[in-house]
């Protein structure tokens, strides 16, 4: 134990930082900062690059197991070399650019998409000492960079000069914009409760445990749970994942805005989608699931970045599980779900969060009243709005001739 370091600051915990300081030490003074940040960029790309590779394999294996079949197991041991095989395939596939397409935009779309989704990795606190860039308003920066991907998707759809791609581009815009609102609105209560816009601040606010058992994570408060659910539904829509994968709906629009892409550009689109998914899950972990904090005090000895990874993988498996089960929504149902269900719920959630933080100092017995009112404020609008949303939709009883 290094004397004076806060508890839980074991050698393993500081290992990445020590490694970086040792490597950077060889260089003269001014170059140290540049080399340090370059090293960080390489680390992020390496970690999330391989995570993307094995996430595609995990997706295909889990989807296969759900469908009672083994999934890829021919390339390497248990199919572990499958991502690299896909990578080689994607690199060697011919990259066709249709003659009628706008070559500049057609090329720029995947590049822009990858660039914007990579930008968002800069501010997520992966561990106690692993914060690439510790901005004061990192949450604001994260969502600003995240929304730029919509531009790239529309660029891809419009530049391919293909009817299906055009339809998909329109759909993508409608979907991504209408889900940006609930995404942000579900984050505002967290900022309100923790009082800071910086990701590390939010994680710090979620440290500690109540009665040494229940961690003080946002998700264990009524408005936090509702906010987490809204955030996850919106994250599903933002990253074009299953119930909302309208832009590239295979059964209707062949491959949507990806119709005219092939070869490595096609792979780039998928890489960007997975990066987006990882980034949004990372931010969900940071905001709602207590970032890199351990769930129990006695588990404190495990390094913080391991806890961040466990929570991130849990969310990603949830994404895959939902993709394996649910059919797709139609574009008008999707936007109605956003505007008439998620946005009002998020606004009400804002009110409950305000009430929650104001009623924090209430004495003992009033705490029960506080919980009751908060739960009522969350459940009430949910039941009312869901009745309106599913008016007339229920399994029917059939007569027999």
């Amino acid at each position: 134990m290094i004397p004076g370091a806060p508890t839980g600051d074991t050698l393993l915990e500081r290992a990445p930082v020590l490694l970086r300081d040792w490597l950077v030490g060889f260089l003269p003074g001014p170059a140290r900062w540049a080399a340090g940040s370059l090293l960080m960029i390489v680390a992020i790309l390496a970690v999330f690059g391989t995570l993307f590779a094995f996430l595609t394999l995990a997706e295909r294996k889990i989807l296969a197991r759900v469908q009672n079949r083994p999934g890829p197991n021919r390339t390497g041991w248990f199919g572990l070399l499958q991502p690299f095989a896909d990578g080689v395939k994607m690199l060697t596939k011919e990259d066709i650019v249709p003659r009628a397409a706008d070559p500049v935009l057609h090329f720029l779309a995947p590049v822009a998409l990858i660039a914007f989704s990579l930008l968002t990795f800069a501010v997520i606190p992966y561990g106690r000492h692993l914060v690439p860039v510790d901005l004061d308003s990192s949450i604001l920066y994260f969502f600003a960079a995240g929304t730029a991907t919509e531009l790239a998707v529309f660029m891809a759809g419009w530049a391919s000069h293909n009817k299906f791609a055009l339809l998909a581009a329109m759909r993508a815009l409608a979907q991504l914009i209408s889900y940006e609102l609930p995404l942000l609105l579900s984050v505002v209560p967290v900022v309100l409760a923790t009082g800071t816009l910086s990701a590390t601040g939010v994680v710090a606010a979620q440290s500690g445990w109540k009665w040494d058992l229940v961690p003080r994570w946002v998700v264990f408060t009524p408005w936090g749970a509702a906010g987490f659910v809204i955030f996850m539904i919106s994250a599903l829509a933002e990253s074009n994942r299953s119930p909302f994968d309208l832009p590239e709906a295979e059964s209707e629009l062949i491959a949507g805005h990806l119709t005219e892409y092939s070869g490595f550009k096609y792979a780039l689109f998928f890489m960007a989608e997975y990066f987006g998914m990882c980034a949004l899950s990372g931010m969900a972990v940071t905001l709602f699931l207590g970032g890199w904090h351990a769930p129990l005090p006695l588990l404190e000895f495990i390094p913080s970045y391991v806890w961040f990874a466990v929570k991130l993988l849990a969310l990603l498996l949830g994404f895959i599980w939902i993709r394996a089960t649910l059919p797709r929504l139609r574009i008008d149902q999707l936007t109605r779900l956003a505007w008439k269900f998620l946005v009002p719920l998020a606004l009400v959630n804002l009110a409950t969060a305000a009430f929650w933080s104001l009623s924090a100092p209430w004495p003992g017995p009033l705490q029960l009243l506080r919980w009751a009112v908060a739960l009522g404020l969350v459940a009430g609008p949910f039941l009312l709005l869901s009745r309106g949303l599913t008016a007339g939709l229920r399994p029917r009883v059939y007569r027999y001739a």
């Binding site: 009628a100 299906f164 295979e250 394996a324 059939y398």
Partner: protein, 389 residues
């Protein structure tokens, strides 16, 4: 970038529909097919879209046309039997039975009891197979990434194994003959069939738990593609689509062909005639088929499976004509045969249910979005081998 209308679009479409044909600047003509992931084969829909909603929709067939009926006229009666497997290649047993029924009514042959029981068992197994696959394809069109389809195919493989151990081939069974069936059930076949049918109820419960209550599926299918009963009757729609529109017309009850009057089963009817009703009517029909199968497997007698007087080679029907029809999984499949006494039929006509059920595709799709046209087409359940013949 002018959207010049291709000659096919400017073909004289019917003025009877609400939309006039002259070309609006902002309409988008999209050709869905013949190479499209969700058209169940080489089938093309020339859709004219106003934004996302369909304004006009012209189905185009013929990509798989090989003039099955001309081949039928050039081949002997027995020679056409393997070709009937290729009509609706998902339900080869019911195609065989319809053709055998037509030839038997043309030549007046009798069929022994055991063969009739075998035919009912195989037809109901085919109905299970077809309806399970349909639910799988319908969900695949709605976007579920293959999970319901894989469960459907897992069950379908078990039924195809039964067909293979009986007739020799999984899908191209060529099993029925005029006056009975070709081979008897091998030892252990009836027990395997009973075991499969016993377990099918549990599979259906799990399948319905995954699908029927699913809010997204209900949102995507309820109220979509509503087919009024009067239009269904006039347009000659038959099978589950017709019963989903609330019309009580099931050939197994109406014609009472084969030994169906001996079995006690009910015919489910829908009330709204939309895509969800078409899905649910098929699921309920599967449950009825399980009932029929259990009764048939219990009651099957021993005995010959082929009419002893039936001649295999050199079969010549007496001059005359006959129209035999059965309740196939997709609707009424019928064979109209005219014989002039020769070894080949003079006229060999197939009444394809999915071809005629497509008559109302445009009426169902008008006003819906392009995502709905895919779901509506999926609920009509077409197989292009039968549509194009």
């Amino acid at each position: 970038m002018s959207l010049s209308p291709s000659p096919l679009f400017s073909a004289p479409g019917p003025q009877v529909r609400a939309v006039s044909d002259e070309f609006h600047g902002d309409l988008l003509e999209v050709s869905m097919g013949p190479h499209h992931p969700s058209t169940h084969g080489v089938f093309r829909m020339m859709a004219t879209l106003d934004g996302e909603t369909v304004v006009k929709l012209k189905p185009v067939f013929g990509y798989l046309h090989r003039n099955h009926e001309k081949i039928g006229e050039g081949t002997s009666y027995l020679g056409s039997m393997p070709y009937t497997d290729r009509l609706d290649y998902l339900c080869s047993m019911t195609n065989n039975w319809a053709y055998a029924l037509a030839v038997e009514s043309l030549s007046g042959q009798a069929v022994p009891e055991r063969a009739q029981y075998l035919r009912v068992i195989l037809a109901e197994l085919t109905r299970l197979l077809n309806h399970t696959c349909l639910a799988g394809f319908l969900l695949q069109d709605c976007g579920a990434s293959g999970t319901p389809l894989m469960y459907a195919f897992r069950e379908r493989e078990k039924i195809l194994d039964l067909f293979e151990s009986l007739s020799g081939s999984r899908m191209m069974c060529n099993y029925q003959r005029f006056g009975g069936c070709r081979t008897d059930a091998p030892p252990g076949w009836l027990e395997a069939a009973a075991a499969l049918v016993g377990g099918y109820g549990a599979f259906l419960d799990e399948y319905e738990a995954l699908l029927t209550g699913n809010e997204i599926l209900m949102a995507r299918t309820q109220g979509v593609g509503r087919l009024p009963a009067a239009l269904a009757i006039s347009a000659g729609v038959t099978g589950p689509m017709l019963r989903a529109a609330g019309v009580d017309y099931d050939l197994r009850k109406v014609d009472g062909y084969g030994f169906y009057p001996r079995f006690e089963f009910r015919v489910p009817l829908g009330a709204h005639g939309d895509t969800y009703d078409r899905y649910m009517v098929r699921v309920l029909e599967m449950r009825e088929s399980i009932g029929i199968l259990q009764q048939a497997l219990r009651g099957i007698p021993a005995g010959p499976i082929m009419d002893p007087k039936a001649r295999l080679r050199g079969f010549r029907a007496k001059p005359g004509e006959a129209y035999g029809r059965i309740e196939g999984p997709k609707g009424e499949i019928g064979f109209f045969l005219i014989s002039e006494g020769g070894p080949n039929p003079y006229r060999y006509r197939v009444r394809p249910p999915s071809f005629i059920n497509l008559t109302i595709l445009e009426d169902l799709c008008l006003g819906h979005s392009i995502a709905d046209t895919v779901v509506i087409l999926g609920s009509i359940d077409i197989v292009l081998g039968e549509v194009d013949r």
